[in-house]
Symmetry: C2
Subunit: 679 residues, 2 copies
C-alpha cells in the first residue's frame, strides 16, 4: 500500500531474482522475505470482479482462511467482491485466483508449509502440497497488495517459498498477567500473518494457574483469582490456532515456579503450607516435593488430563530456576538425597524430571523443557529450549539432541527489533555439521508477562516479533536491517486489521493519563522515549505486583522510538557526508521538540500521574536547546567556549537519567552530533 | 479529570443543590446526572494509602465490582493501591471508603437501584439497599474523580440517587452482523458505566440465527455461517451482565424476519423452500407458517429451551414487519383465514401471537414485542416496545398496558446526541395520569446491525448512548444540551478504559485506508464530515450485503462531527454578538482547513479507496475559500458583488452533495455566516 515500493517496482521492472541470497532483496513489502522471488514486471489489476476458488480435497479450514483473505482485501481496498463464503462445495474453474493444494496438512512439527505463488497479468495461482502451505501463501499475497493513483494491483511475480526452520514460536505468559481469549486469538492471527507456527502457552507459574482441571479442580479454583481458561475455551483456541496452521504447546512449569499449584494442594509442596497466590515478581522458593509418591500420583493424573486436552505431541515442563531453598530445608528430602546417593539438588531435579518424563511418555507426549532439563540419558526425541543461548544448543546438538532458541528473543526486555533480528539460532560461524544443524529446530520469541497487561501486550509483541519471524522463516542471508525496518513499518499497519492494539492503544493510554482527547503535545514527547531496558524496571525504587497499575507513561511508551531512529539516521548521514540538508532537517526536528515544551508542561501540570516524567522533560528541553546551538555552530563552522562543552556534558549526563522509568532515546545521536562539533 | 470542572468547583464552593430540578446543574462530570447533589466544598485527597471495604451480606459479585473500581482508579491515577482483590472475607472498619448494602439485588425489572454517596474530607461512604445500587454508586464515584496540579481528589458532596425509569436498555442486533463475545462484554461494561440495565439482544433475523439450539440444531448449524454463541457463551454473558446489574432480554423475531430459521427448517415456512441465509438488507418475504401445527410444536420446544437458557422474566418475540406476501400466496393459509373467519393478515398474526403467548406463559415467561403485537385481550403483564413513538405507548398505557420507547433512540440512523437526548418517553405535555405514566417503563437505544461491524459498533453506540442513558435515569428536568455535550466529552474518554474502541478505531480505520501511520491530513477532513443520515446510505447507488466492506470513510467517520459543532457555536455566537474575536477564530479554522487541501489531495492520490470523497474535498475547499472571503467582508464591513453571491450559492449547492456517502457537516454554519453577510 505504500508508494515507494511501487515506484521501485517500476524502476526495477527487469530485475530478476532467483534465490534471495543470489542478489539484492526484492522491492516488496514482504515479511518474512520468501526463499525465492522473481519479478516479472506484469501487474494483476484488482477490481470488484475479483473471485477465487479453492481446489483440493475438501478443507473448510482453508475455505474459511480464503474467506478471511477476501474480507481483508476488501477492507483495505473498499472493493465489493461478489463472493460471500468460500466453501468446498463452491469450486469454480473460471476464478481469476486459483488455490490448489494436494492434501490436508497436519498441525505437527514436521508438516510441509511450502508454497508457490504466481501472479500473472490476468491470473493468480497458488500451489501448495498442503492447505497449511496455502495459508502461508495467502499471507504473502495480502502483503503484495500495492496501489498507484488509479487502482490496486498485485505486482507480477513468481515466488517459491518454504521455511528455514520448522519451529517458529511465540511464548505468551498468561500466568503473571492473565490474557483473555480474544487476546490470544488476535495474536494467533498476527502470528499467522508473519508465518509463525507455534504458540508456546506458559499456563502456570507462581502467580497463577490458568487452566481448568477437572481431576484437580483446586488448581484453577484456588490458584487463578478466577482468571483461567475453561477446557471448552482451551479447545476453542486450539481449534482457532489449527485453522491457521499453528501448533499450541502448553507449558506447565515444574517443580519450581509452582506456588499457584500449592494454594489448592499444599501437600505437593516441599515446605509446610498454607500457600497464597504470589503477588510479587522474581524467583520464589515454593517448589514441589520430589520425594513423595503423592507428587507423582498427582502429576500422573494431571498430565494425563492435559495430554488429552492438548493435541500437540510436545508438552513443555519448564524445569527452570529452582533455587533449592525449600529442598535444602526439608529433612525428608535431604534424607532421600543421601539414601539415593544424589550429589545435590541438580541431581534430585534430574530424578524428578525422569519421573515426569515417564509420565509424559506413558501418555504419548514428548518432553520439551528449559536448558536445565538437559541431562545425559534422556531419549533423543526431547527438545531443549534454550534461554541461555546458542552454545548450549550446539552442545546438545553435538550429543544428538534437538533444541530451540529463545535467548536473544526475550521481547519483554524491550530491545530494538534489530537486536532480535540479528540473533540467529545457527550463527554463520557455527561449527556444527549439517546433520547437527538440522537438530536446531528454530526458536521462540518470549513475551514474559510481569509488566504486561491485556492493554499493552500487543505493543510489546508487535511489530518486533515480525522481525524474529523473518529470522526463523527466511534464508539466513536475509539480514539487511534497513530493509527490515522499512518493511516492518508497513507490516505493523497491516497487523492492525487483525484487531491487534499495538498502535491504537498508545494514544488511548495517553488519553487516559491526561483526561483529554487531544494528546499531541504529550505524544510528541513520548515518541522520543523508551521504557528502561532489561529488568531495570524492577530496580528503580518501584515495587511492582500483579495488581499494580501498568498504565503509566512507561507502559504507554513504545519499546523502540522510531523518531529516535530517524534522528540517528540523520546524524549518521551528516557525520558521514557533511551534507547541510541533513543538518537543516535535524534543526527542524529539534525546533519542533523545543517548541513543544510549553504545551507539554501545561499537560503535565494538569495530570499528577505525569509528574514523574517532569525532570526528564526539562533535561530533554535543555538538550534540545544545546542541540540547536550545536547545529548553528556546525553551520557557521565556529566553536563554542570550553564552558559550553562543560555545560553540555552536564546536560547530557542529566538527559541520560531515566525518569518515571523511561529514558530519552535521542540522547545518543545528539551526543554524536556534539562530538562531531568537537572533532 | 478535566480542569474546567475543578475551577468551577472552586468558584462554586458554596453552591448547594438539593434536588437537581431546584437549581442549576452541579459543575461535575456526572452522566447520568443524579437525582440530588449537594456540594460541600470539601475535598477527599486520593493517595496510595486509599483502601475500601464492602459491608453487607457476602457478595463476591460486589467484591469483584469494587476490585475493578480500584483497578480503574489506579489505572487513571497511576497510584499503587495496597489492596489486591476485595472479597467478602476481607472486611475492615478502618478503610477510608466504606460500601454498605443491605441485601443482594435481584437482576429483575423492579429491583431497587438507589444509593447514597457521601464524600467527606477523610471518609467516603456509599450506602445502598442492594448491591446493584452500590454498583451504580461506584460508577458515580469514578466519574467524580478530579485533579489539580498536585493531586487527585474527589470533590466533597452528598448524592442521593435513584433512576427515573426501571427499564433502561440498549438493543444490540447481532444477526445482521455477528458480534463476538468480547464486543458484547465491553458494551455491557459501557452500559454499567452509564447505569443502563437491560441488554436487548436481537439474536435472530433474516441474516443470521445466533444461538446454539440443542433441540433444533440446524438453526445455528445452517443459519449462522458458523457465527453463533454457544449456550456456554450465552450463560457466560448472562453471568457477566448480572455481575454488573444488567438484565439480558433475548429477542427471537417471529413470524417474519425469520429467513435464517428456514434454512435448516424449511417446513416452518409459508412458501416452499429451499432457503438460504439472506445476504441483502430490507424487509423480506419469508415468514413462518401460522396455520401448521408443526410451527407451534417447533416453537414450543424452542421457547422451552430458550426459557431455560435465559433467566430474565421477559422474552422478546419481535413480531414486526410481516409484509404478508407469502401468506397471501399460500392457499392453505388463505383457506385457514376463511375457515377461522379472520379478516386479514393482521388478524392472522394476532392468532399466531396468541399461540406464542401461550407457549411463553407455559414456560414462565412474560412477552415483550414491537408495536405490532399490541391487541385487545392480551394479559397486562406484557410489554409493548414502540418503534412508532410515544403516542402509541400512551394509547397502550391508557388501556393499562406497559411499554418502553425506542422511537427516537435508533442510533443506527446517525443522528446527533442532542436529537436522542431530547426525546422523552413521557414528554412534558403528556396527558397521562400518574398511574398511566408508571406504565411507561423506560426505553432502549437501538443499535441495528446492517451497516455495523465489530470494528465500528462501539463508535455507533458510544458516546451517544450515554446521552440516552441520562434521559432514562435522570430527572426529566435535566435537559441542558450544552451541559450534556460538555460532560459527554469526558465520559467518552472514560469509556475507553473499558476497552471500548469508539475513539481508537477511528484513526485505525484511516490508517488502513491510507496505508500510512500518520493520518493527520485525512483526519483533518474526515473530522468535518458525517455519514449520511437516516437510511440514505441504502439509496445512493451502493448495494450493501452482509459481506460488503464496512471500512470506507463513511464507516470511519463519526456519527457527529464535534468540529462542526464548534464552528456552529462560533458562528451563532458571532451572529448574536458581532464579536470580532469569534470572527478571528472562524477565520483561523477555515484557514487551517484550506491549507490542508494539498496534503489531503496527496493522500487521496495514493489510495484509490479515497477517490470517492474527492469531489467533496474539492467542493469543501472552495467553500472554505469563500468562507474566508466572507470573514474578510464582514471584518471590513464591505459587500461582495452579486456575482459573488451567485457563485457562492452554487458552491453551497455542491458542498451539500454527499460523496462516498458522507456529507460535509460544516455547510450549515458557513451558510449562516454568508446569510449574516447578506443581511
Amino acid at each position: 500500500m505504500k508508494q515507494i515500493p511501487i515506484i521501485r517496482i517500476i524502476a526495477g521492472i527487469l530485475l530478476i531474482i532467483t534465490g534471495i541470497c543470489a542478489g539484492e532483496l526484492p522491492p516488496l513489502n514482504l515479511m518474512p522475505v520468501p526463499a525465492e522471488v522473481t519479478l516479472t514486471g506484469d501487474r494483476y489489476l484488482l477490481d470488484a470482479k475479483f473471485t477465487l476458488t479453492v481446489q483440493g480435497p475438501p478443507s473448510s479450514r482453508l475455505g474459511r482462511y480464503a474467506t478471511r483473505f477476501l474480507r481483508r482485501l476488501s477492507g483495505r481496498t473498499g472493493l465489493f467482491f461478489p463472493q460471500d463464503f468460500i466453501t468446498p462445495a463452491k469450486v469454480s474453474d473460471s476464478a481469476q485466483f486459483i488455490i490448489k493444494y494436494e492434501r490436508l496438512g497436519q498441525i505437527i512439527l514436521t508438516e510441509d508449509e511450502s508454497y508457490r505463488l504466481t501472479v500473472g497479468k490476468d491470473k493468480i495461482e497458488l500451489l501448495a502440497p498442503t492447505d497449511v502451505g496455502a495459508m502461508r501463501g495467502l499471507e504473502t499475497l495480502l502483503q503484495l497488495l500495492a496501489a498507484d493513483a488509479g487502482s490496486y494491483f498485485f505486482p507480477g511475480c513468481k515466488i517459491k517459498d518454504a521455511p528455514r526452520f520448522p519451529w517458529r514460536g511465540l511464548l505468551i505468559d498468561v500466568s503473571r498477567h492473565f490474557e483473555p481469549v480474544e487476546v490470544i486469538k488476535r495474536n494467533l492471527d498476527g502470528m499467522a500473518a508473519v508465518k509463525l507456527n507455534v504458540l508456546h502457552w506458559h499456563l502456570s507459574d507462581d502467580q497463577g494457574f490458568r487452566v481448568e482441571s477437572k481431576v484437580w479442580p483446586k488448581l484453577h479454583a484456588l490458584g487463578s483469582d478466577d482468571m483461567f481458561y475453561t477446557q471448552v475455551q482451551i479447545r476453542e483456541i486450539i481449534e482457532y490456532a489449527a485453522e491457521r496452521g499453528i501448533r499450541i504447546v502448553p507449558e506447565f512449569d515444574v517443580p519450581a515456579h509452582a506456588t499457584s499449584w500449592l494454594v489448592g494442594y499444599p501437600e505437593l509442596a516441599s515446605a509446610p503450607g498454607s500457600y497464597a497466590i504470589e503477588r510479587y515478581w522474581g524467583i520464589k522458593d515454593p517448589t514441589m516435593n520430589p520425594v513423595r509418591e503423592f507428587t507423582y500420583e498427582f502429576l500422573d493424573k494431571f498430565f494425563q488430563e492435559m495430554a488429552m486436552l492438548f493435541p500437540d505431541e510436545y508438552l513443555h515442563i519448564g524445569g527452570d530456576e529452582n533455587n533449592g531453598r525449600h529442598w535444602n530445608a526439608n529433612q525428608e528430602i535431604q534424607a532421600f538425597l543421601k539414601a539415593k546417593k544424589l550429589k545435590d539438588n541438580h541431581e534430585l531435579q534430574r530424578y524428578f524430571n525422569q519421573q515426569v518424563l515417564k509420565i509424559l511418555t506413558k501418555y504419548g507426549k514428548k518432553m520439551i523443557g528449559w536448558d536445565e532439563i538437559f541431562q545425559p540419558g534422556l531419549p533423543q526425541n526431547i527438545v531443549i529450549h534454550s534461554w541461555r543461548g546458542y552454545n548450549f544448543l550446539a552442545e546438545a546438538a553435538q550429543k544428538g539432541y534437538m533444541g530451540i532458541l529463545s535467548n536473544g528473543y526475550y521481547i519483554d526486555l524491550i530491545q530494538p527489533a534489530e537486536y532480535h533480528y540479528l540473533v540467529d539460532p545457527i550463527p554463520a560461524d557455527s561449527k556444527l555439521t549439517d546433520a547437527q544443524k538440522k537438530l536446531i529446530l528454530g526458536g521462540e520469541a518470549a513475551s514474559w508477562g510481569e509488566i504486561v497487561t491485556n492493554e499493552t501486550i500487543d505493543s510489546r509483541i508487535w511489530p518486533r516479533t515480525a522481525a524474529i519471524a523473518e529470522r526463523l522463516w527466511s534464508p539466513a542471508c536475509v539480514r539487511d536491517v534497513e530493509s527490515m525496518y522499512d518493511r516492518l513499518e508497513t507490516i505493523s499497519l497491516q497487523l492492525e486489521e487483525l484487531e491487534l492494539t499495538h498502535i491504537k492503544n498508545y494514544e488511548m493510554m495517553l488519553r487516559r493519563l491526561t483526561g483529554r482527547e487531544d494528546v499531541t503535545a504529550l505524544r510528541s514527547f513520548v515518541d522520543l522515549v523508551e521504557p528502561v531496558k532489561q529488568y531495570d524496571r524492577h530496580f528503580q525504587g518501584v515495587t511492582y505486583t500483579s495488581y499494580s497499575p501498568y498504565t503509566r507513561i512507561v507502559d504507554a511508551a513504545r519499546p523502540e522510538s522510531m523518531t529516535a531512529r530517524k534522528l540517528r539516521h540523520l546524524v549518521e548521514g551528516y557525520c558521514r557526508t557533511d551534507n547541510r540538508l541533513e543538518l537543516d532537517r535535524i534543526q527542524q526536528m529539534l525546533t519542533i521538540w523545543h517548541d513543544n515544551y510549553p504545551p507539554l508542561q501545561s499537560v503535565i501540570a494538569s495530570a499528577p500521574v505525569l509528574k514523574e516524567i517532569e525532570p526528564l522533560t526539562l533535561a530533554a528541553d535543555e538538550l534540545f536547546q544545546y542541540g540547536i546551538e550545536t547545529v548553528e555552530y556546525l553551520k557557521t563552522e565556529t566553536q563554542p567556549s570550553a564552558k559550553w562543552y562543560e555545560d553540555v556534558a552536564e546536560i547530557l549526563r542529566r538527559a541520560k537519567q531515566p525518569a518515571g522509568q523511561v529514558e530519552l532515546a535521542v540522547v545518543a545521536p545528539l551526543e554524536q552530533l556534539i562530538q562531531k562539533l568537537r572533532d
